[in-house]
Structures are given as structure tokens and as C-alpha cells.
């Protein structure tokens, strides 16, 4: 799925991992400017310009042990010295954010929806490893509800790419500036992990298969989003509180994206192995507080984890498969 334009030719090397708070503020200001200015309003509904051909790079990123422990405990992982793939995402995410908030990024940050995610981890990343993180955007595509874009993050340790993450986001109501290729936002249908096609529109299961019997249940209290924000640094206002969620058109805060995907991965536990492909397709967001029925099942050599709301709403499907032949 990273078969688009590939790595940009230009690099912007940042001195350190940027603070996410600042990035959100900058992104919010930019989004508001775009909406409020006559030019911005005119831009809405018009084709967005192309993606800048630049990658942001931060070298020598290291994990903090306490931070890692807090993340692992919150997600239900054992506090080992191996970084869960989702925690590597946490380390790399600010660099991707830096890409999305840089001048020239064609889509507004606020209100963007995480549609799907795919992570390839070739070997485990350990506490103490120095990570070189490179992030860029690619695959700006039209989507029935706006424009989708993929944010790619690569993590190298000692010059070897050990972790690659591709996050597919939807900017609602923004038309793509490039030719529609009809790939939709699912984006995970070609990776062969068997997680394709399960209700990505948030309206529930497709109605043919009976709902799988749960193997686990998540009870997510109202402060779930804040707690994840505290360990991920991702203070997406949609996740934090009723007030901030309402400001963005949601009645209640959400648990969504890497948070629930990482929980689902933790649900599989050590059985997932060290080299893996971890995919997530997100349906309707989990409105907090919530109870989510989770079903872990064998899928080929790996596992699928399906999260379903009490009313049968499909929240996410996560695939975990061993990575072979790298």
C-alpha cells in the first residue's frame, strides 16, 4: 500500500521531536484560518492542491522507561523492555504531525478521521534503541466523503528499517486535487492479512455473518481518551472531553484510532510474535463511556480482533499476522 509516490526526495531534518501540543495549536489555527477566510471558504469543496514532496526527519529518538511503562500498563501490555508497535507509533507520530501542520499541507488537521492503519514491524524495537524517524504524506485520493491521505512513518535503527507505519486519514468535505482512483479509504485490502472489507462505514456488520461470540470485553470509562492522551501525547480534542468533542461536532469524546488498535493488539498478547504486520480498519468511533465486545479469532497464521459496540456497531477490525520473507 505504500506503492504511491514513495519516499519524497527532499528532507527537512528537525532538531528534535516537536511537541504535539504546539503542533495541534498550529494545526487548529491553520484549520480555522482556512475556514474563516474567504479564500478558505472558497477552498472548501474545491480540489485540494497536491502534497508537498518533503519528508520530515528526526534522528536519535529514544524511549523513556517510565513513559513506556505507563503506555504498556494502560493498554494492557506487560511492561517489558520491548516497545509495543503502537508505542513506536507514539514516538513517530509527532513527526507525522509535523508534516501535516507544515505550511503547504493541503488538508485541515482538525476533524480529520483515522480510517485505517497498517504497521509492519520487522524486528522488535527495544528500550535504549536510538530511532531515526522519517515521515511524509502520500496518496492524496478523493473519497466519497472528502479526501483521504496516507501518512507514512519509517523507523530505522542502525540504518535498518525496523518499523513502518501507514495511517490513512479522511479530511471530510475536502475534495481531492488529484484524479480519483477509486481506491476508497479502506486501503488495507491488498495486504493479504484478511482484515479487508469489514464495515468501514461505521454502520455495523454486513449482516451476513453472525456476530462472533466475544472473547473479551472492554469497559472504557469517560476519561479513557484523556488517559490515552497522557501516555501517547496525542491530545486530539475529539478524544479528551465532552466540551472539546462537541466543539468538533461529536456529542461525546471518542476512543478511536491507534488507541483502540493498540488495545486490540495487546488483546492478542505475546502470541503475535516479534515480526508482524498489524493492520487496523476503523468503523464508527467508540463514544465514551462505552463497552466494546471484542472477539479474537485465528486467521491463517495470525489473528483478527473485532471490536463491536453493545448495539452491534462495528468499531474496528484489527489484523495481526506474522511478517515473513523480509
Amino acid at each position: 500500500m505504500t506503492d504511491g509516490p514513495g519516499r519524497p526526495r527532499r528532507e527537512t531534518v528537525l532538531p528534535a521531536v516537536p511537541a504535539l501540543g504546539g503542533l495541534y495549536a498550529a494545526g487548529a489555527r491553520a484549520s480555522l484560518r482556512a475556514r474563516l477566510s474567504p479564500a478558505g471558504r472558497a477552498a472548501a469543496g474545491r480540489p485540494a492542491p497536491a502534497l508537498p514532496d518533503v519528508a520530515h526527519v528526526v534522528r536519535g529518538v529514544t524511549a523513556d522507561a517510565d513513559h513506556l511503562t505507563a503506555y504498556q500498563h494502560l493498554l494492557g501490555e506487560s511492561a517489558t523492555d520491548t516497545l509495543p508497535p503502537g508505542f513506536v507509533h507514539v514516538l513517530a507520530f509527532p513527526v507525522a504531525m509535523s508534516v501535516m501542520t507544515a505550511p503547504g499541507f493541503p488538508l485541515p488537521l482538525l476533524g480529520m478521521v483515522h480510517l485505517a492503519n497498517r504497521v509492519e514491524q520487522r524486528r522488535p524495537v527495544r528500550l535504549g534503541d536510538r530511532l531515526d524517524v522519517r515521515a511524509w504524506a502520500q496518496d492524496l485520493h478523493p473519497h466519497p466523503r472528502g479526501t483521504s491521505v496516507r501518512l507514512v512513518a519509517e523507523v530505522e535503527v542502525d540504518g535498518e528499517t525496523v518499523w513502518t507505519g501507514v495511517s490513512t486519514y479522511l479530511a471530510k468535505g475536502v475534495a481531492a486535487g488529484v484524479g480519483a482512483e477509486g481506491t476508497g479509504m479502506g486501503g488495507t485490502g491488498t495486504d493479504g492479512t484478511g482484515t479487508d472489507g469489514t464495515g468501514t462505514d461505521g454502520t455495523g456488520t454486513d449482516g451476513t455473518d453472525p456476530r462472533p461470540l466475544p472473547t473479551a470485553r472492554w469497559r472504557l470509562p469517560a476519561d479513557t481518551g484523556r488517559r490515552y492522551a497522557a501516555v501517547s501525547g496525542d491530545r486530539n480534542p475529539l478524544h479528551l472531553s465532552v466540551a472539546t468533542a462537541r466543539a468538533l461536532g461529536q456529542p461525546r469524546p471518542l476512543a478511536h484510532g491507534m488507541h483502540t488498535a493498540a488495545r486490540a493488539l495487546a488483546q492478542v498478547g505475546p502470541a503475535r510474535g516479534d515480526a508482524l504486520v498489524w493492520t487496523a480498519t476503523f468503523g464508527s468511533p467508540v463514544r465514551l463511556p462505552a463497552t466494546v465486545d471484542v472477539a479474537v479469532a485465528r486467521a491463517g497464521d495470525g489473528w483478527t480482533v473485532t471490536g463491536t459496540g453493545r448495539g452491534g456497531r462495528h468499531h474496528l477490525t484489527v489484523g495481526v499476522a506474522p511478517l515473513v520473507g523480509t
Binding site: 453472525p210 488483546q267 498478547g269
Partner: protein
């Protein structure tokens, strides 16, 4: 079946009187038991602690068997819901009992299988000649369960202790939010799945298609049989009243299918399959303690005690419920076939089968698995179904649905009850001129997908 003994170890028979053989083994016997009547949580034992209950059960055992001041080889017991202050629960109970203070003790914990595992471990020590006598036990108080501090409050309190300056202390306190002061209620949920045991069983129940009617019938039988056993004096030598409670408080010998059918389902309501598990066909939260006296034949003779049954062998199994491979409480379905295979026995060779009634559906799912051709072939590696258990051999004096289930105390309750029954049946057979082994199977499922099965043979 050959009418030979099945002690498992070559050259060792239940009837052997030989002592410990270096490098070999000898039989270990159940010599007696004592438990408190089981109370419903919040009932008669609402303010009794695990230590109180276990000490009471021990004292009753000592009184029944005249062990005052005796140095028993070892006492092993445990609790599932355990306060941190009870880190040495069993030893403390020994020190508070009429046993000699020189009796060693240790704590065991294997969730609901704690009591049975304590029996098995100590019996093995006796078999090896490490011990001449032992007391296995278990206790749980759902009433006096530990309530944990909210994690954030707990960490703040620990940090506060480490803080050196007033400013540092203030900084710690400033972290606290009002919500942090709320205690964490104890949950019966599986840590890895967040599902309670009942919810897990509801899923397994749906998978095996166990009906509400079958569950209610099993529950009714449990109450009727336990009630009949009490009336027949079965528990006169097994139970010592405590805190004014003389019978198991959960027992409703006069319940009926109509009454059971009127209850609303409490587990499995979010599933597509109809919810079938009610408060009537699930075990309630219970308080109580049990003990089992174990010993070598020589020790028994020295103390004028009659061996009831030998603890022949045991098998532990675990299932992968985390990935949905098997139901949480279905491990005994694997442990039992492995145990019986080791002795060349089949289900029909057993005179008594005790399957702990965590829920009526747990027993029915286990039986259904054993009766399933597919399960037998694909999961147990057999040619077909493992077999069936005749209803008149199953839980003959009732089980946990009627008696209640103070988690760690259930194993001791079952072992003592079934050992006495084995002894009685063997005596009856002998009186009728028939001499053959009389065997019982005890199976207890436990949290974490665990299951322990033990084989007992009348002495």
C-alpha cells in the same frame, strides 16, 4: 476393566501397608475433613475474615480427630480473594488453632482450584515420604473481600511517603483528583479479557447450545441432593457449625423448576444467543472454609483414624480462552481424559464423578464436550466421543450450586465429601461380599482457563 487397584505407581496398592520406600511411593489417604457451613456473602459470616474462617475450620478438624497439640506434617491452604496482610494466611491460621505451633504451613493459590491443588500437592508429599500427615484447606470470604485503592491514589500515597520536602509532598497531593479517592471494587473479571466468569461461561454456553431447561434441572437436582444429604447426616462428620450457621445457607431444598424458571437471566444478555444463565443456575458469592486431613496408613493407624480414600493421581490442564480457542471453564474437559488415560480407565469405570458446579452450564458444557464425537476426535485426539457420565453418579450429594462456592474452599468440600462416600460405598460392597475398587473423579474448573482433576479410590 480389571478389578485391580489403580494407584498408578507400579507395585503400590491401596492395601499396601508398607511405609515410605526410598525412591518409591506409597499411598496417601484422605482421613477426614471439616468445613464450616457455607454462608451467602453478607450473611452470617459478613464480618468474619479469611483467617477467622480458616482457623474455625482447622479447629473443627482438630476437634473431630483429636489432634490438639499435634505437630501435623504440613498445612497448605489458600484464598482467592486475599488481603495483602494475609501473606502468610495458613501459618497464621495454624498459630491460632489448637494444632501445635510447630506445625509448618504454606499458602497455595490456584484460583478456584486452590483447595484441590492443596490436596494434590500434599498427597504427593505424603506419597514421597516427605510427610506423614497433612491438612489441605481453602477459604474465601466474598463479604470480607479486599477493596483496593484506586491506582492513582495508591501511587500518590507511595510517592508521598518517598517525598522528602513539604513542597514535594504538596506536589504529590496536587496530583490527586476527587475521582481518585473512589476505591476499586473487586471484580471477578478475567484480567486479560475483562469478562466476568459468568460472561465467559455465557459465551461457552451459547457455543455448546446448552438450554435453560437443562441448566435449571441440574440446579434443582443439586439442591435436592444436598438437602437429602444434610437430612441423612452425611455432613455430621464433615461440617462444624460456625457463627450459629448449622447448614449451608444457600441451600433451597424446596426450590422447584417453576421457581428457577421464573428467574431473569443475569449473564449473556448481550449475545445473539438467548440468555439462559440466572442466579438460580449460577453459584452465588459465598463465604466459607474447608479442610481435609491427609496421612499415610501408618500415621492413620497411630491416631486411630480410618483411611477413607487414597488420592491416586491428578492432572492439571489449561485452555487458551484469550484467543477464543476454548471456553474459560472448560479445562477439565481436557484434564480428565488425560488423567483417566494414564490409568487405563474410562468414565464408566468411575463410581462417583464430582464436577464442580461453577455454573450449571459449566457441568453441562463439559459433559457435552465429552459426548461430542467432533470434540473427541479433534480436540482430545480420540477415535470418537470421550464418553458419558451417568446422572446417578454425578455430584451425588449436590454441589456448588446448592452449597455455594467460597472459591478456594470448594476443593476441600468436594474431596472430603466424596472420600467419605467412597469409604461408605466400599464398606457396603464388602458387606455384600463384593470386593472391587471404588473410584471417584473430582474435577474443578478455575479462573485463568485452569482445570484440576483428581482420581480417588476407596481405601
Amino acid at each position: 476393566m480389571t478389578p485391580s487397584s489403580t494407584l498408578g505407581d507400579p507395585g503400590t496398592r491401596v492395601g499396601d501397608h508398607s511405609g515410605a520406600v526410598p525412591g518409591g511411593t506409597r499411598p496417601a489417604y484422605v482421613l477426614g475433613g471439616n468445613r464450616t457451613p457455607f454462608a451467602r456473602a453478607g450473611g452470617r459470616y459478613a464480618h468474619a475474615s479469611n483467617l477467622d474462617l480458616l482457623t474455625a475450620a482447622l479447629d473443627g478438624l482438630v476437634a473431630r480427630h483429636g489432634l490438639q497439640g499435634e505437630r501435623v506434617g504440613e498445612v497448605a491452604a489458600g484464598a482467592v480473594l486475599k488481603h495483602s496482610r494475609d501473606f502468610n494466611l495458613t501459618r497464621e491460621a495454624v498459630l491460632g488453632s489448637a494444632l501445635s505451633a510447630t506445625t509448618p504451613a504454606y499458602d497455595v493459590q490456584q484460583a478456584c482450584a486452590t483447595g484441590l491443588e492443596a490436596v494434590v500437592g500434599l498427597a504427593n508429599k505424603i506419597r514421597l515420604g516427605q510427610l506423614e500427615s497433612a491438612v489441605a484447606g481453602g477459604v474465601d470470604s466474598a463479604s470480607d473481600a479486599p477493596v483496593a485503592l484506586n491506582d492513582r491514589l495508591r501511587r500518590a500515597l507511595l510517592d508521598l511517603r518517598r517525598a522528602r520536602t513539604p513542597q514535594a509532598r504538596l506536589a504529590v497531593l496536587a496530583r490527586l483528583r476527587p475521582g481518585d479517592l473512589a476505591p476499586e471494587a473487586p471484580t471477578a473479571g478475567e484480567p486479560r479479557t475483562g469478562l466476568s466468569m459468568g460472561e465467559h461461561q455465557a459465551i461457552t454456553t451459547a457455543q455448546w447450545g446448552i438450554t435453560r431447561a437443562a441448566q435449571d434441572e441440574l440446579a434443582l437436582r443439586s439442591h435436592q441432593r444436598l438437602g437429602a444429604a444434610w437430612d441423612a447426616g452425611v455432613f455430621d462428620d464433615l461440617v462444624t457449625p460456625y457463627r450459629g450457621l448449622v447448614r449451608d445457607a444457600n441451600l433451597r431444598a424446596d426450590t422447584s423448576l417453576e421457581k428457577l424458571a421464573a428467574l431473569k437471566p443475569v449473564f449473556g444478555r448481550g449475545l445473539d444467543a438467548p440468555a439462559t444463565m440466572t442466579a438460580g443456575n449460577s453459584t452465588p458469592l459465598t463465604d466459607g472454609a474447608s479442610t481435609v486431613l491427609l496421612g499415610s496408613r501408618e500415621w492413620a493407624a497411630e491416631h486411630g483414624l480410618t483411611p477413607w480414600a487414597a488420592v491416586v493421581d491428578a492432572e492439571v490442564a489449561a485452555v487458551d480462552f484469550v484467543h477464543g480457542e476454548d471456553g474459560l471453564l472448560l479445562a477439565p474437559a481436557f484434564a480428565v481424559p488425560r488423567l483417566l488415560a494414564r490409568h487405563g480407565l474410562a468414565l464408566e469405570d468411575l463410581d462417583l464423578v464430582e464436577i464442580h458446579e461453577a455454573f450449571a452450564a459449566t457441568v453441562l458444557c463439559t459433559l457435552a464436550a465429552w459426548e461430542s464425537e467432533t470434540f473427541g476426535r479433534e480436540r482430545l485426539g480420540l477415535d470418537g466421543a470421550f464418553g458419558t457420565v451417568k446422572e446417578d453418579r454425578l455430584n451425588v450429594h449436590g454441589s456448588s450450586l446448592a452449597a455455594g462456592h467460597p472459591f478456594a474452599a470448594t476443593g476441600g468440600r468436594v474431596v472430603a465429601t466424596v472420600a467419605q462416600e467412597l469409604h461408605r460405598r466400599r464398606a457396603e460392597l464388602r458387606a455384600a461380599g463384593e470386593d472391587r475398587p471404588v473410584r471417584a473423579l473430582v474435577s474443578v474448573c478455575a479462573a485463568g482457563g485452569l482445570g484440576v482433576a483428581a482420581l480417588l479410590e476407596a481405601a
